[in-house]
């Protein structure tokens, strides 16, 4: 029965592949095996109705494989508990946080060499093939244009030390790479340990207000006019709001911290092949275009953002990649600096 299904699937797959394209394609055997599994459970940290459902719908249409969408809240807690009970329910996941490195450290994900990753930048794929990035994020300085005159706009990170910014700046109180630690990391990496630390010490005297919540919450404080400047705002958030009339603008003060939404495959998953196929699809030009339409910044270097200047290649700014591996090696140190300089005082 399964054999027959596999054969049928293989034939269908072979037929659909009749036109050979220059683009990377998933292995026909993988497609057949995935179709035999028939379904895949995907936990995504992306916006469900704007990004996840469109990707799932396009994938279902292309391969006829049903996508079950699971919630990505406390993903690591959920996945580790399921793993230790031997009942993994999630096949594939993506997350902007440090879930991927924690899952790797716990040996709960499997490697997969996707044909799609060949053209990706080195910082957006794991050398051991345990993960790849589907979208990228840039943490930039954003200002309220009603509160900050053009001549007062900071041009460099040094400018943030000006006394006029004291008590006027916000950032989100996230103790991971979605908040100040990635900014701290980018300064230490780009300026060197010594100069970076000296800079941060001076910056801490500026009394930056911590906003509980995510990058959007901190940016909203600036849009609302509670504070004139956010230090670690996501540039695509700024553009989404400013295109609707919000008095806000992001500044190309490089190098900015760059993180990514990383995709991984769960060890012992019920639908390993369908998961691999979805992995391929997310990173394919087709999948990347769906994400781009949802206002995300595609990690594929060949797919520009909806507003091209949001990515360094087209925008002409520099970025420091904050890699998943840095969670283990650098995060504790950067977090210590954050707590010592910016929380304790």
């Amino acid at each position: 029965m399964l054999q027959a299904k596999l054969w049928m699937a293989a034939i269908v797959a072979a037929m659909s592949l009749s036109s050979v394209s220059a683009r990377a394609e998933s292995d026909p055997a993988l497609i057949a095996a995935a179709k035999a599994e028939g379904t895949v459970t995907w936990a995504s940290g992306l916006i469900v109705n704007q990004a996840v459902r469109p990707v799932a719908a396009a994938f279902e249409k292309k391969y006829g494989i049903h996508v079950e969408i699971a919630t990505a809240d406390n993903l690591l807690l959920r996945m580790t508990n399921e793993a230790s009970a031997g009942k993994p329910t999630i096949d594939i996941f993506d997350n902007a946080g440090d879930t991927i490195s924690a899952m790797r450290a716990a040996d709960l994900i499997v490697p997969y060499a996707s044909p799609e990753t060949a053209r990706y930048r080195p910082e957006h794929k794991d050398p051991e093939n345990y993960w790849a990035s589907c979208c990228v994020f840039f943490y930039t300085v954003a200002i309220n244009t009603e509160m900050v005159k053009p001549e007062d706009e900071p041009k460099s990170y040094e400018d943030l030390l000006d006394p006029k910014w004291k008590d006027k700046m916000v950032w989100q109180n996230n103790e991971n790479f979605a908040g100040p630690p990635s900014f701290i990391g980018a300064r230490l990496i780009s300026m060197g340990e010594e100069a970076g630390t000296a800079y941060l010490e001076k910056l801490s005297k500026q009394n930056i207000t911590r906003v509980p919540g995510n990058a959007r919450k901190a940016l909203d404080q600036v849009i609302l006019g509670q504070y004139p400047l956010a230090i670690t705002a996501l540039n695509h958030h700024v553009v989404i709001s400013s295109s609707q009339g919000a008095p806000v603008k992001w500044l190309k003060i490089g190098p900015v911290a760059s993180t990514a939404e990383t995709v991984g495959l769960v060890k012992g998953a019920a639908h390993p092949n369908a998961a691999k196929l979805l992995f391929d699809y997310l990173l394919s030009a087709e999948g990347q275009n769906v994400l781009r339409e949802a206002n995300y910044l595609p990690a594929d270097p060949n797919v520009p953002a909806k507003v091209p200047e949001l990515k360094p290649e087209q925008g002409g700014f520099t970025a420091v990649p904050i890699l998943p591996s840095m969670n283990q090696e650098q995060l504790p140190k950067w977090l210590e600096i954050y707590k010592r300089l910016f929380v304790a005082n």
């Binding site: 992306l46 109705n49 809240d73 406390n74 996945m79 995510n214 609302l224 509670q226």
Partner: protein
């Protein structure tokens, strides 16, 4: 004691199996024993998991390692422990006092007097209970914030650049927490006032007491057990609350004891062990408080005013003060409901967070509402949520009617029952969720990922809340009614069904409503336990909250609160109509 009375008249023994024999011999003990078993089965597994998690090292792959006391020492050695402790006491104390005074007075006005606009007080309560917590707090922070309408207006009027009100203070924290607890407190007191016999108030009035004297010397003492229960309850809950203190306090560096828990939970992976240890410490501390509280309610019979004598409460005529009372209800309606809802509507109807100004009216859009209505999967989420909420509310209320009666009557084992039932209140939502998840994964039947596991979690979650309603309700019912029933040959179960339940109906309605409406709001548990096919409204809200779609979140929350209000309103009318006979209404 009650056991002797109730067992006094034993039906003739027949050839029943042992259980029935026992039931006939000492019926209350048997019911009590059954409830202890049920509650132990419900509460002990999460507690044990909590204990284990707090005392062992968590391995990265989810398994447990060696014994450790590190989680406890981290809490007790956190920097500025005394400052945090003092902040906590101030915050919890202020919130409790404010919410008690306002809530009790409001409930009295609504239930006991002829003040106008009573319906508004119920509307306020039901809608604000149905409004998700994260939205409610966000709305208040928006209204009271630096660039909020209040401070904006102040600056426009005075031409100054400073703030009229800084929300990021202990007072701001306590004020928002007061608003959050208002519905529960109001519902609890309104149940108590509705059931309390009005004869004494009438007597006070006839003897020439002023309305104020009567309120302080008769009305309030009559609901003293409810007062003590509510005070305890709110105080304990604010001790362990971390959402409001964090959201309001962090920008001003105000820490409370539970702040640390919040950060531990937000780490990846969340340090639940640390939060578990905090819960265990709280349980220990609060057990002491419970002993004191138990002593307080020992002579609770003094407060029983629902006796065998027939009575029909008449509303007290406030005279000219009637309009002052009405004004108070209007202010409550305005402050607790209208202002935050207006803020939410504004947030939902603007494409980005815009200050509330005339010049921004041109921004208004239906985009966020349209996005909500276009998404068909929300129907499935809503039906899942309503099913879970109805099941959890019904089961929890059923259990707590019996437990409430047993504890109020000091049946054997009632102390244990009370302790078991209070415990889950002290588990932060996510800690509870994680414990239930581990239970769901380890039981041999396939409950993990279904809505039934969620319902199970919410029953546990709801028991302490529901119990406060039923327990204080039973305290008001004089034993003489039950004694009469027992002497006439009623079994304890008959007695509960025929005497206690009808007389308790105001408390039962309040408890059911409260639990039903709370389930839709509790995000942490729902999101953690939802599988792909058992997603709830909380999942959609979480998605919007983490992805920064503030406007859509507000639109979604408003639509949801509206739906819950309708459902709760229908349920309320239905239950009251069917139970109203007991109170002659």
């Amino acid at each position: 004691m009650s056991d002797d009375i109730l067992a006094a008249r034993r039906p003739p023994a027949g050839n029943f199996p042992n259980v029935f024999k026992a039931l006939q011999a000492r019926p209350v003990s048997v019911i009590s024993a059954v409830m202890v078993v049920v509650m132990t089965a419900l509460m002990l597994p999460p507690l044990l998991i909590l204990l284990r998690n707090s005392l062992t090292v968590a391995n990265p792959d989810g398994s447990r390692g060696a014994f450790t006391l590190e989680n406890y020492s981290r809490i007790l050695s956190q920097p500025d422990l005394y400052v945090s402790a003092w902040n906590t006491v101030q915050f919890a104390g202020l919130s409790t006092v404010m919410v008690l005074i306002i809530g009790a007075f409001l409930a009295w006005l609504v239930e006991r007097t002829n003040a106008p606009f009573k319906g508004l007080a119920y509307l306020t309560t039901i809608i604000s209970l149905g409004t998700p917590f994260i939205l409610y707090t966000a709305a208040w922070l928006y209204v009271l914030g630096r660039a909020g309408p209040l401070n904006d207006l102040y600056r426009t009027l005075t031409g100054r650049a400073d703030l009229l009100f800084d929300v990021h203070t202990i007072w701001g924290m306590a004020l928002i927490e007061t608003f959050v607890w208002m519905p529960l407190v109001f519902l609890m007191f309104s149940a108590a006032f509705r059931a309390a016999n009005a004869e004494m108030e009438e007597a006070a009035r006839m003897s020439g007491a002023s309305v104020f004297d009567m309120f302080w010397r008769v009305s309030i003492p009559l609901v003293w057990p409810a007062m003590a229960a509510v005070a305890m309850f709110v105080f304990i809950n604010t001790l362990q609350a971390f959402d409001v203190p964090i959201l309001v306090g962090v920008p001003s560096n105000i820490n409370v004891l539970s702040s640390d828990i919040y950060f531990a939970i937000r780490e990846v992976p969340p340090k639940l062990d640390h939060a578990s240890a905090f819960s265990i410490l709280l349980i220990l501390a609060i057990s002491c408080l419970m002993v004191w509280y138990g002593r307080l309610s020992r002579n609770a019979d003094r407060f029983a005013s629902v006796t065998g004598k027939g009575y029909r409460p008449r509303p007290i005529d406030l005279g000219r003060l009637r309009w002052l009372g009405g004004a108070f209800i209007l202010v409550d309606f305005f402050v607790v409901l209208l202002v935050p809802i207006a803020a939410l509507i504004w947030i939902a109807a603007t494409p980005f967070m815009a200050p509330m100004r005339w010049s921004n009216l041109k921004l208004l859009t239906m985009k966020n509402f349209n996005a909500v209505f276009e998404e068909t999967s929300y129907l499935e989420y809503a039906s899942n949520t309503i099913t879970i909420a109805a099941v959890a509310a019904s089961v929890a209320v059923f259990l707590t009617i019996i437990i409430g009666w047993l504890t109020a009557r000091r049946a054997p084992g009632s102390t244990v029952l009370d302790q078991l039932s209070t415990m889950p209140m002290l588990f932060p939502g996510i800690v509870m969720g994680a414990a239930v998840m581990q239970i769901g994964l380890q039981v041999p039947f396939a409950i993990y990922g279904t809505i039934w596991l969620l319902a199970f979690a919410f029953v546990i979650r709801a028991v302490p809340f529901s119990l406060r309603y039923t327990y204080t309700g039973v305290l008001q019912i004089h034993r003489e009614l039950e004694e009469a029933a027992a002497i006439s040959g009623a079994s304890p179960l008959q007695l509960i069904r025929r005497i206690v339940v009808p007389l308790l109906s105001p408390a039962i309605v309040s408890a059911w409503l409260f639990v039903f409406l709370s389930v839709g709001k509790e995000l942490a548990i729902s999101v953690l336990l939802s599988g792909p096919r058992s997603q709830t409204i909380a999942v959609a809200m979480f998605d919007k909250a983490t992805n920064g779609q503030e406007g859509e979140l507000a639109a979604f929350g408003l639509v949801w609160a509206g739906l819950m209000t309708v459902v709760a309103g229908v349920a309320y009318v239905f239950i009251r109509r069917n139970s109203g006979a007991a109170f002659g209404r």
